[in-house]
Subunit: 261 residues, 2 copies
Amino acid sequence: MRPTLERDSPVPLYQQLAGHLRQDIAEGRLPTGVAFPSERKLMARYQVTRTTVRSAIGLLKQEGMVVAEHGAGSFVRDPKADRRLVDATQLSSARLSASPDGDRTGSGPVRSFRVIAPIEPATRRVPATPWISGLLQVEVGTAVLLQESVGYGAEGIPSLRRAWVHPRVERELGLAEADLDGQWLPDLLASRGITAAEGEDVVEAMMPAPDLKRVLAVPDGVPVLQLFRVMKQDALVVAVIEVHLPADLTTLVFGRTTLGR
Amino acid sequence: MRPTLERDSPVPLYQQLAGHLRQDIAEGRLPTGVAFPSERKLMARYQVTRTTVRSAIGLLKQEGMVVAEHGAGSFVRDPKADRRLVDATQLSSARLSASPDGDRTGSGPVRSFRVIAPIEPATRRVPATPWISGLLQVEVGTAVLLQESVGYGAEGIPSLRRAWVHPRVERELGLAEADLDGQWLPDLLASRGITAAEGEDVVEAMMPAPDLKRVLAVPDGVPVLQLFRVMKQDALVVAVIEVHLPADLTTLVFGRTTLGR
DNA sequence: GAGTGGTCTAGACCACCTT
DNA sequence: AGGTGGTCTAGACCACTCG
């Protein structure tokens, strides 16, 4: 009713509209978790086409402030609400579980799990990409064992993990692909006395490619955190663990923190 | 010509089209950095409307695989190409510079800087949000000094930084807001003997809100890495440093890495 | 000036959820 | 059944870049 858009403004209508909606959210007129005027209502209220309305809402979706549910409506979201603390240094060790309940640590209520299709650890041999060969410290193209697994990790967060073994370690331990299937590699290394207290961590973030987005059930407007842990022993690289985590659910912590969020 | 879309498929046309384009990119038919058929050409080639073509390209944009330049064309992008290694533990110390050239470390060629509008360190007093109060270990709502600055950091990466001082430290050092203007807070702390070798790091990622997106010149489809460094001395929190970095440019490294990417 | 991407209109039909 | 978001058409005009 009252709110109007300037049709002569150099700022496009859909951006003006997005601004109005953003302000409505920020100032509490559109409370989080609930409601949102339907696209047809917004058309009428602002006297624009559905295309324009959808462009505006599209912007908010990309910012992670709104999620749309087909047939039900669009809902305001707090992009920072669902984050749980994750200890980066512990990430590589524990095995992923098939159901989120398995990892309930008993501390505090854990809500709204995301449904994914877990994948048991599966092993294959692949040539090292430039990036991985840099971390593993082997020649580019060297054939290395790669293990891949999908499941729920610490705090019930869906995650995809990959583990690359250094050929030297593979030789020393006499590993075969068959040994590894169904068993999470760092567990196996630990059982043979390789704990890798040393090591480094590398962190990146990106928008998920469609495959990863589906596998981890990542909503629109949510990036993925990517953590590489370089396991070392006696200054030699033993393995590289890669972990993908939906960024809307995770706060990565390096070093103990007394954080009672 | 040859490629056709299935109109009866349950998969929407624009998603099919996006799939085709993704495959063309992956298999090298659309090389990175160059070209891309214009929207009108794609309309003709696939016999769909411009809306459908734009939806497909929109998907690729959100994945960071394509950038569009008004009037010039759309271009394939390698989402991982421009990353530079950034030492997370060093991030808080050095002051941001107004031009990217100032931080050229001399090691290797640094290309394609992004143009931003630097902001000198400016100080104000704000009530602690729940999140910050948790990190600073003060009561929620406590008035704390906040310093904010925008510029080019290590490796010439645009970044926004904020520093919160613990009230105890502010008192002990007799800081005034005027003291701080134009001076980067960690520098000042260091000059008074507070180095904060201890500390923890917290990392998150998110899609940038429009303000941040503009300030850091973040392209579409690119998230922002957010690093909080909790500076401590004798187990007491001294200050919290927050750093925002465009994720397409940064690989955060924790611990020394021998990585010659 | 020709070609490109950006915005906007006015419609239509569909798939899905809620009641 | 009625309302919601998702897809798609067929057009139009504009702002920008490039040769």
